[in-house]
């Protein structure tokens, strides 16, 4: 199987996340072993409070107070300084949130350009890249709208554009379609599916079982543990397009 040869992007060994102390101690994540390979599209399902979002936050380096081991691209996350972690978030990880999380006082193009700021890219280049990204999502005419002037589907597309503008290799989506109607959900899922086909690793938390059809692997969680782990179909073997993030790595070498 070609799939087995691809290196693991994310490796978790006995990952635990504790909240509270003493009597109130409670493990939101209670021992997860998980290996995620490059190019996988993972859908994480499970009831509310089973630790899906907590897991996603840990994977996205937003939460570093963990027990157990987390290796990202072969590096132990625990040993990374917060500055290094911020750089990884900036260059390798793209977040998509249920509540979009656009900055309301910035217009669409500035929101999309925001992650580029922390990469140290000059303003004009930032806006050019953001504009290009928005055109890819057919939002070219909405560049100077404010977030509240957009529909839910458009807002989420802006948020995805923002997540992708840095060309991250891993995309973390926390219920990306949770606030959208089925039509908008479909468009968003098509976009994610397209990203997956280009070779990006996508980890998506969802409540909606129908969305799992887009995924290559479905994980269900229960009480902070992995309940089931099924591969639904082979991940994209043929790369028709250049994966996002590939250019960056080449430039770095």
């Amino acid at each position: 199987m070609t799939f087995a040869k691809t290196p693991p992007v994310i490796e978790l060994r006995d990952l635990k996340k504790r909240f509270g102390i003493g009597d109130a101690e409670h493990y939101a994540i209670d021992g997860i072993d998980l290996t995620i390979k490059k190019g996988e599209f993972i859908a994480i399902m499970g009831p509310s409070g089973c630790g899906k979002t907590t897991l996603l936050n840990i994977l996205g380096l937003l939460d570093s107070e963990i027990d157990g081991e987390y290796e990202l691209d072969g590096r132990h996350v625990a040993s990374l300084s917060s500055r290094k972690q911020a750089r990884i978030r900036s260059q390798q990880i793209g977040f998509i949130f249920q509540s979009f999380n656009l900055i309301s006082r910035l217009n669409v193009i500035e929101n999309v350009a925001l992650p580029l700021t922390y990469k140290g890219i000059p303003r004009v280049t930032r806006l050019k890249l953001a504009s290009k990204m928005l055109h890819n999502f057919h939002l070219g005419e909405r560049e100077y709208y404010l977030p509240h002037q957009l529909s839910g589907g458009q807002t989420q597309r802006v948020a995805i554009a923002r997540a992708l503008v840095n060309e991250p290799s891993i995309i973390l989506a926390d219920e990306p379609t949770g606030n959208l109607d089925s039509h908008a959900s479909h468009i968003i899922m098509e976009e994610l599916s397209d990203l997956h086909k280009r070779g990006n690793t996508i980890i998506m938390v969802t409540h909606n079982p129908r969305l799992t059809t887009y995924a290559s692997r479905v994980i269900t969680m229960l009480d902070g543990r992995i309940d089931t782990d099924t591969f639904t179909k082979k991940p994209a073997k043929k790369r028709t397009k250049r994966p996002l993030g590939a250019k960056r790595k080449k430039a770095k070498a």
């Binding site: 500055r83 303003r123 923002r162």
Partner: protein, 410 residues
């Protein structure tokens, strides 16, 4: 790094613009503080400048002898400011003047003996009108200008007086008072000259010549029971080059007659203006310290508004962190915002301060001074305030946990 800084500045501009009223009000606090400091400093250096300018205008060939020693520390000087009306007996005597006349290159010696007492004519002059007893040489040594009549003359009757124009108006009701009689400490004097108006109440002689009467040394002795207190001796030399030598000679000569006791000081150039300048600097320093309190209040205003802004934008901080902002980036973002507030307020305050001091100077006899020190103080203080009061909110912002920050709804 540089690009990041530019981004932070653009970002700060944007976020300050989005809450314009709030930013303006916050800046106003700093503006008021910096404006009052600028006004005080520019006016007080204007006042000090005036004395230095006078000394400069006299040319570099003036030396001044004052009783007592000049201390070197400003604090001592302030505590023991040599007012010309000291109660203690002056250490300078008439014998000194005689010895000074023997020194080479000295072209003029004018002692200044300030007496007080009733000055009366048609009406009584205000109490505290200065009666200056001196020699005719004062005219050339201190460069006094006569509007009408003549200065004191050794060949004339000793009971003659030269009066200031304002005093003439006060006691005679006119500036044309030549030949009229004025009673000084009960003794009648004839007015032989009116000084030209100088509008310089602050000068190194310690005399407001617009409001003074000038009489001969001998008449001065007559009306003060024979004892003269010499407050200051002004010396003019024949050239600038000879001044240094003359000062050395004066020191030698006086030291001999004073039996080796250093109870006098010979000053030249900027030193002459120093006691006056120091007084103004001390006053300016004290008032600046008071004005600094308003700046402190402005700084607290900045801190307050930054804390509100951090609390309001918790979610934004969470988003930015998720998108790759490091703690340092967040600190920089909020610090630059508070610096923008304080520097903006500082620049506005500097301008307002100068407008204010020009407005005030129309009622005063001197103009405010422009110099780089005041600009540096204004900008430096606002930088300081912005950093000190912006740092805590900025650090607090950067310490926010991104997960809980993202969970907060705006």
């Amino acid at each position: 790094m540089r690009i990041l800084l530019i981004s932070h500045i653009q970002n700060a501009r944007q976020s300050l613009k989005s809450s314009r009223l709030r930013s303006t009000l916050t800046m106003l606090g700093v503006t008021i503080g910096v404006a009052s400091i600028t006004t005080i400093l520019s006016l007080s250096s204007g006042a000090s400048q005036i004395v230095s300018d006078q000394v400069d205008a006299l040319g570099g060939n003036i030396a001044v002898i004052r009783p007592g020693t000049v201390s070197n520390t400003p604090i001592d000087d302030l505590a023991d400011f040599p007012t010309q009306q000291n109660f203690a007996a002056s250490t300078l005597t008439e014998t000194d003047i005689i010895h000074l006349q023997e020194i080479q290159h000295v072209t003029g010696i004018a002692p200044i003996i300030i007496l007080t007492g009733g000055v009366k004519a048609n009406s009584t002059a205000p109490a505290g009108t200065q009666i200056v007893a001196t020699t005719p040489e004062l005219e050339t040594v201190s460069d006094l200008k006569i509007a009408e009549g003549q200065f004191l003359d050794p060949h004339l009757n000793t009971d003659t007086v030269v009066i200031g124009p304002q005093l003439s108006i006060n006691i005679f009701g006119t500036e044309q008072s030549i030949g009229k009689q004025v009673s000084i400490r009960g003794t009648p004097f004839t007015v032989i000259g009116i000084l030209k108006r100088t509008n310089n109440p602050i000068n190194y002689n310690g005399v407001d010549f617009d409001n003074a009467v000038i009489i001969n040394k001998e008449s001065g002795r007559a009306i003060s029971q024979g004892a003269l207190q010499i407050q200051q001796i002004n010396i003019r030399t024949d050239s600038v080059a000879s001044l240094d030598q003359v000062i050395i000679d004066i020191n030698k000569s006086l030291l001999k007659t004073h039996l080796g006791e250093v109870d006098f000081s010979v000053l030249s150039g900027a030193q002459i203006a120093q006691p006056t300048n120091r007084l103004f600097n001390a006053i300016a320093g004290t008032t600046t310290a008071i004005a600094a309190i308003s700046l402190l209040v402005g700084g607290i205003g900045i801190m307050n508004i930054m804390l509100v802004s951090v609390a309001e934008r918790t979610r934004e901080i969470g988003i930015r962190k998720a998108l790759g902002a490091s703690n340092g980036d967040i600190v920089a973002q909020f610090l630059i915002e508070s610096l923008a507030l304080s520097i903006g307020g500082g620049i506005a305050g500097y301008i307002v301060g100068y407008l204010g001091s020009f407005a005030i100077s129309t009622f005063l006899t001197f103009d405010p001074v422009f110099n780089w020190e005041i600009a540096a103080i204004a900008i430096g203080l606002s930088l300081f305030i912005g950093t000190i009061f912006g740092l805590y909110p900025a650090i607090r912002a950067s310490k926010k946990d991104p997960i809980s920050a993202l969970r907060q709804y705006d």
